[in-house]
Symmetry: C2
Subunit: 336 residues, 2 copies
């Protein structure tokens, strides 16, 4: 077990000063080509890795990016991480995961977590990306951040955007086109901006089709399978039940599927069910769930890209809206 090689070790072996080695390592000019070569060879031979603590101490950076989120579904978390890591590959930055229980109740706690983790920048997933106190505190403490699919204050910080409302409208239009006129909606967690944005999208589609508010029954959920079961039960156990259900994520859509089966309602013949997100579960349940795909990994990569640009002192580029895509599967069909 050898001590890690330092610049000093390389300098001695190569017969140059530490500063020259440093110049070579950072691809700075003003080093003769032959010396540059020699230093590189020695560094490779010693398997040199720069000490980021020392680099960070000087530049007051840590080369750490914190990813914060609040117990969403596992596949969403993994997609976020995958997207961020894709962009970070080959960079000096590393990804630290910092899930936080409830940022809305304790915004200061989230920021304290980020500060004590000493991250240079933070990737904020919903719902923390929509909490003004969090953004204020981050601005104050000089921690850069990028917001992943925020629903409000779109002008603050750099954002990777999704048009949740348009996506909601798209999936609702799919059902309207199949002839459905009586709808059930299962909402997501009330604290998420996506919940109201997706609902607004549904309503856009309903209004355009001339569907009366009386024909729309809305139930609350919180994005969990369990909450979806309860809400689906309330929707489907009535005699004037809807012919189509819009669930605001796939876990709740799958739950609605399971409730329909338990009640003896064939899907999609008796009732159509659509989800949201195109999570793994949408392909694993039966019938497979019609849903809207949001390119989560690409968004996370975009947010990471924006964050890196900020950390390198670049300008904030204009936000772009990532496209959604309706994926029609077996759980939706023509109205009876």
């Amino acid at each position: 077990m050898n001590r890690r090689a330092t610049i000093k070790d390389i300098a001695e072996q190569a017969g140059v000063s530490a500063k020259t080695v440093s110049r070579v390592m950072n691809d700075e000019p003003y080093v003769r080509d032959d010396i540059r070569e020699r230093v590189k060879r020695v560094a490779a031979a010693l398997d040199y890795h720069p000490n980021r603590n020392a680099q960070g101490l000087i530049s007051s950076r840590t080369f750490l990016i914190g990813l914060t989120y609040e117990r969403p579904s596992p596949s969403y978390v993994v997609d976020l991480q995958r997207g961020a890591l894709e962009r970070l590959a080959g960079e000096r930055y590393r990804l630290v995961v910092l899930p936080f229980a409830d940022a809305r109740e304790d915004p200061a706690g989230l920021v304290a977590l980020l500060r004590s983790a000493m991250v240079d920048g933070a990737l904020l997933a919903p719902p923390s990306c929509d909490i003004p106190e969090v953004l204020d505190a981050l601005d104050n403490s000089g921690i850069r951040y990028a917001r992943i699919t925020p629903g409000t204050m779109l002008e603050r910080g750099s954002c990777a955007l999704l048009d949740e409302r348009a996506a909601g409208r798209a999936i609702a239009e799919h059902l309207v086109q199949l002839g459905h006129r009586r709808f059930g909606v299962i909402l997501g967690h009330p604290g998420h901006a996506a919940t109201s944005a997706r609902l607004a999208g549904y309503r856009d589609a309903f209004a355009a089709a001339g569907i009366a508010p009386d024909d729309i029954r809305i139930e609350r959920g919180d994005f969990t399978f369990h909450s979806g079961e309860a809400a689906a039960h309330r929707l489907l156990a009535r005699t004037d039940r809807p012919t189509a259900i819009l669930a605001q994520n796939d876990d709740m859509g799958a739950a609605a599927l399971s409730v329909a089966r338990a009640l003896g309602l064939a899907v999609p013949d008796a009732v159509s069910i659509a989800g949201f997100d195109d999570a793994d579960i949408a392909r694993l349940c039966w019938p497979q769930l019609t849903t809207v795909e949001q390119p989560v990994a690409a968004i996370a990569a975009d947010a990471t890209d924006r964050l890196l640009k900020q950390l390198e002192g670049g300008e904030l580029a204009a936000a772009i809206t990532h496209p959604h895509r309706v994926i029609v599967r077996g759980s939706t069909g023509p109205a009876a």
Copy 2:
């Protein structure tokens, strides 16, 4: 946007030396109680967070723990992370996620990743925890590690253990007790130690029940839903099909469920299906999947604990084996 407070700032405001502040921050003795109090108050007022770069530079540490794994299911990844983070809460260490594509093909690449991330220690999930080259290289570079449910070389490093074989035997015995005598097995990825250990456990149960090898049909899979579908199809499309299928994880078990449904075979009346892991999907499919729960988060926390003990210079405690638990749900029933 304020500069972060340093020890020097606190020292000036509290009218003491930097060293005394340091002593207070690290709960060292030899500071008068009133001074200790005063320093703590000033530190809190300035919202002081120690600079881990500086701390790390001195102690040649980074207070970073790397978690490595190789695209397992999202819920497994999240459980690992949750367990590790639970143990890390309140510690100075932070968790860096380092998924790596194929450690078996490129062990040196994985170690290079860990070295360049400058982690103090690594948590190795399967299959990298079973690759001797990886362990050798880590030993050589002085990166401590803890192995999460290794299947081989149990004497190397510190391990958080699972008795995969006993768990395999337990779930197989459940089916034997239901009267099944003709079995299909869907194996996991051939590179994982768990694959052969679980199979050995199945065989223990079969041998104890006097079931002939001819009545056991084994198909290969790789832990993905897709591979499970193909394997299940090969098992169920035959006339002498098994009355019970043992899938080595829940994704493949759910796939078998879906194939059975497509072939018009009622579960569990015509065929019983058991999974492994108690992943989310086991509760989300229909009928819900009988499976074996492995306490993944607790194991990850245990591994993290062992790693921290090593990093703090403690002794290696004896490994303990974490208990499995058979969870009987609707997908298994008496043999026809």
